[in-house]
Symmetry: C2
Subunit: 463 residues, 2 copies
C-alpha cells in the first residue's frame, strides 16, 4: 500500500495534474510535419522534469529530439527505466473533431485532445507519480531513468541507433512502458506481446501526364486500375496475405494462451458495434477476430490516392497512383524479409506500361515477453491496488517498437502497463482520455515504483 | 474556293482572332466549380456574336447557361447548326503547368492555355469564319444557328432536355461539331463515331471513424482493401470488363472499316512514346490498340482516394474510400443498362462490414453516323481546300454527347470536323492549340459554309 502522504498528494493534485496534461497536449508535436512544435514540447518536458528534481535534457539526433531524465534515489535501490513518447499522430481529418485537437477540454469525464491517451496522458501519469514521491514520500523509492521519445508515431526510425548509443546511460534493472490500454473499462491489463510493422509506400507511374480517358482509354495501362489489382492481389480469398513465405516464421498460439483468451469473454458483436460496423471482417477467415488482431500478421492499405479526387467528374487516365500499405507482424517474423517479399510481389504485379517504385516508411520487429518476473509481479500488484481488480495478461495488435529494442539492446523485458481505454479514439478524431484513468494511472505508477523496490532489492540491502 | 475578299479577311485578321481566343481562355469556365466564371464567359460570347451581326442570348437552365445565336442569310439558303462548348476541364494539377492555364501565351507556334484546343479554339475558328463572311463576303452563305454549351466537360447533364425544349429553335438542315482533332499533324479527319459514357462514383464506408490499423487490423474490413478488390475485379485477366452483359450490344467492326484503319498506318510505338509509356496496355488483349480506343468499350478508374495521403506514415484503417470510374461505350450499348449492371456488380462485391454507395455522375450514349451525305461531302471538300489534303474518316474514343442527341432529337447526323492535334494535351496540364491550326480551321469553316450552300440548296433555288 502507498504511504498515506503519497496517496494524499495524488488526491490533492488531481486538478493540477489534469491542467499540466492540457499544457502538454497544446503542443502539436506531430513528428513528420511539426518539428518546431516537437522541440518546444521536449523543452517543456525537460522543464517539468527538472521541477520534480530530476536531471533532464533534450537529446538532439537525426530526427525529432528525445528527452532523457534521471534521478538517483539511493545506492540500494533498483533502477527503473520509464518510457513514454511525446509525439502524436497527425490530427487530420480536422473537420471531424468536435473541439480543437490541441486545446484539450473535459467533457462528460473525458479529456478530449490529440495525444490525450496516446501517449501524453499516460506519460503524465508517471510525472504525477514521480511528483507525489518527490514532494510527499521523502523521495522516489527507486532510481529512475526516463526516456520520452519524439518519433514513436512514425515508427521510431532512429530509436534503435539512439538506444544503442545510449545503452550505458539508460541501463536499468527493470523497464516500464505506459503506452497501451486496459482490456476493457475497469479491467486493467499487462501486455506481453506486440505486433511488429513493415510500412511501405508503392507508386505506380504510367503516362508522363494525366491523359484523356476517352481518347486513350483501352490502349494505355491505367495506374489506378493497375494499383487496385496489386492491392487486391495482396490477399487471397481466404483473407491470407499472399506474399511468398509471409507465414513461414509465425509462431502458433499456444493452447494455454488460447484458453486464457477465451476466458476474457470477448464480445465480438459489441466490439463491432463500438467501431460502427455491421460485421467484422478483413483478416484470415480461419482464425477468430481476437487471434487475428493479437497473434496473426495482417496487411492494411492506410491510404490510397490517384487521379482526380475533387467534386464531380474528370475523365482522365492519371499519370500516377500510390498506396501506403502497412503490415503488422508477429513473432518471429522479420520485417526485412517481409519487405523483400513485398518488393518481389510488386515487381511481379507491375504490368507493361507501368513503372513501380516502392519505398520503406517504417519497420519494427514484433516482440513476445516473459510473463513470469519480479517486475511483472510488481505491475500486477500495482494495478490491483490502484484499480481494485487483477490485470489480465493479453497480447496487443499495435506496435511499440521500443519494446523489442529495449529487450534486444538493454536486455530488459519491459512491463507494458497501459492506461488507455479501448474507445479512446487513438489515431482517430476526438481522441480522449478518461479523467479517472489519469488519476488511477498516477496511483498505479506510484505503487509500481514501491513494489519494484521490494521485489528487486537484493536480500541484505535496505529496502 | 473561297471568294478572295473572304480569304483576305481571314489572312488580315490572324492576330485579332488569336487575341480574341486568349480573351476567351481567360475565363476559368469550369462547369462544376466556377459557375460565375461560366456565366461571364457566356456573356462574353453573346457580346462577340452580336458584334458579328448575330442575334444572341444567354439561356439559363438547371446548370450552367448555354448560348444560342442565329443569323438569317436568305430564305433560299440551307440552315446550319454550329455546335461548340465554352466550358473547360479543371486545370488541376496546377503545378504541372508551365504557364498560367488561364493566361494563354504563344510559345513555339502553340497557344498554351486551358481550353485552347478543347473547345474554345475550335469554337473561335467558327467565330472567325462568320466574321470573314459577314464583314468581307457580303454576308453568310448559309443561315446559321449557333449553340455554345456550358456543361460538355461534365457530361452534358442537362443538354438532352435543353435540346428537346429548344428543338424548334435549333432545327436545321445540317449540323457541324468542331470539338475533335486531326488524325495526325497534317492529316485532317472527319469522325463518324464517338464513344458513349457512363461515369459513376462508388464509395465504400467501413468503421464510423478512422481507426488504428495496429489495434484493429485483421478484424475489420478495410474500405481501401475492399475497394481495390472491387476495382480489380472489374476486369478479367484478358482485359475484358467483367460486368454482366457488358459486351452484349456491342456492334462488331466491319471488315471494310478495319481495312481502312489499317491503311492509316497507325504507329503503336510512336503513339506509346508520345504518351511517355514503355508499352501499351489496359484494354482487351484480343484487339489491336486502335480498335480498343475507337470501337471497343472500356473501363477506367479516373480517381481514387481513401485514408491518409499526406507525407509519411499514418497507421489507420480509414472510415471510407471512394473511386470515380468511367466506362466508354460503343454502339449500341445503352448507358442505363451498363449502370444497372455496375450497381449489381458493386452489390455483389461489397464485403461484410462495408456499406456501398454508387452515384451516377454522367452518362452519354455512343453514336455512329452516316458517312455518305451532302454535308459530309461539304466537310471533306472544305478540309481539303483549307489544309491541302483529303480528310480520313475515323472513329474516336472520346464522348461528345451532343452528337447523339442532335441525331436523336433534331434528326441530323452532324459533320464532326475537329481541328485539334493529337498532342494538344487536352484534359491535361499544358493544353495547347497550334496557331496554324486556328487559322486553317477558320478557313475550313468558311469554306464549309460555302460548300454547304451548294450541296444543300434545292435545285431551282438560288445558290
Amino acid at each position: 500500500m502507498l504511504p498515506d502522504a503519497v496517496s494524499k498528494h495524488l488526491d490533492d493534485n488531481r486538478e493540477g495534474n489534469l491542467a499540466r496534461l492540457k499544457e502538454l497536449i497544446a503542443f502539436p508535436s506531430v513528428a513528420n510535419s511539426r518539428p518546431d512544435d516537437c522541440r518546444r514540447c521536449a523543452e517543456w518536458l525537460v522543464a517539468r522534469l527538472e521541477s520534480l528534481g530530476l536531471t533532464a535534457r533534450v537529446v538532439e539526433g537525426e530526427g525529432r529530439p528525445n528527452v532523457i531524465a534521471s534521478c538517483h534515489a539511493d545506492d540500494a535501490a533498483p533502477t527503473l527505466l520509464i518510457y513514454g513518447h511525446y509525439d502524436v499522430q497527425p490530427a487530420e481529418p480536422l473537420d471531424e473533431w468536435q473541439t480543437d485537437p490541441f486545446d484539450a477540454v473535459v467533457r462528460d469525464g473525458f479529456l478530449y485532445g490529440r495525444g490525450a491517451s496516446d501517449d501524453k496522458g499516460q506519460l503524465s501519469a508517471h510525472l504525477a507519480a514521480i511528483e507525489a514521491w518527490q514532494r510527499a514520500g521523502g523521495g522516489l523509492p527507486v532510481n529512475v531513468k526516463l526516456l520520452a521519445e519524439g518519433e514513436e508515431e512514425i515508427g521510431s526510425p532512429t530509436m534503435e541507433s539512439f538506444l544503442a548509443a545510449h545503452a550505458e546511460e539508460l541501463s536499468a534493472d527493470a523497464a516500464v512502458i505506459s503506452d497501451g490500454e486496459f482490456h476493457a473499462p475497469g479491467v486493467p491489463a499487462i501486455t506481453y506481446a506486440l505486433r511488429g510493422l513493415a510500412y511501405v509506400e508503392v507508386t505506380f507511374r504510367g503516362p508522363s501526364a494525366d491523359i484523356h480517358s476517352g481518347v486513350h482509354g483501352g490502349a494505355v495501362t491505367n495506374p489506378i486500375n493497375a494499383l487496385a489489382r496489386l492491392v487486391a492481389a495482396l490477399h487471397d480469398d481466404a483473407g491470407r496475405v499472399a506474399l511468398e513465405g509471409y507465414y513461414d516464421d509465425v509462431l502458433p498460439l499456444s493452447g494455454e494462451e488460447r484458453a486464457a483468451w477465451e476466458r476474457l469473454g470477448h464480445d465480438e458483436g459489441e466490439y463491432a458495434r463500438s467501431l460502427g460496423v455491421a460485421a467484422l471482417g478483413g483478416g484470415e477467415k480461419a482464425f477468430a477476430p481476437l487471434e487475428r488482431r493479437w497473434a496473426r500478421p495482417t496487411l492494411d492499405c492506410n491510404g490510397i490516392v490517384g487521379g482526380y479526387t475533387g467534386v464531380g467528374s474528370k475523365t482522365i487516365i492519371p499519370a500516377m497512383a500510390s498506396a501506403k500499405i502497412s503490415m503488422r507482424l508477429v513473432a518471429d517474423q522479420d520485417p526485412k524479409k517481409v519487405v523483400a517479399a513485398f518488393e518481389r510481389f510488386v515487381a511481379a504485379h507491375t504490368p507493361p506500361g507501368i513503372v513501380a517504385e516502392t519505398r520503406l516508411n517504417a519497420e519494427a520487429r514484433p516482440v513476445l515477453l516473459r510473463r513470469e518476473s519480479a517486475e511483472m509481479d510488481a505491475g500486477r500488484a500495482a494495478l490491483t491496488e490502484a484499480f481494485g481488480r487483477e490485470p489480465v495478461f493479453v497480447r496487443h495488435g499495435a506496435s511499440v517498437p521500443i519494446t523489442e529494442q529495449i529487450q534486444r539492446l538493454l536486455g530488459l523485458d519491459a512491463v507494458l502497463m497501459g492506461f488507455g481505454l479501448p474507445d479512446d479514439n487513438i489515431h482517430s478524431p476526438n481522441e480522449r482520455f478518461a479523467v479517472e484513468q489519469l488519476h488511477g494511472a498516477a496511483r498505479a505508477c506510484a505503487a509500481f515504483y514501491q513494489n519494484l523496490r521490494k521485489g528487486l532489492t537484493r536480500p541484505g540491502e535496505s529496502g
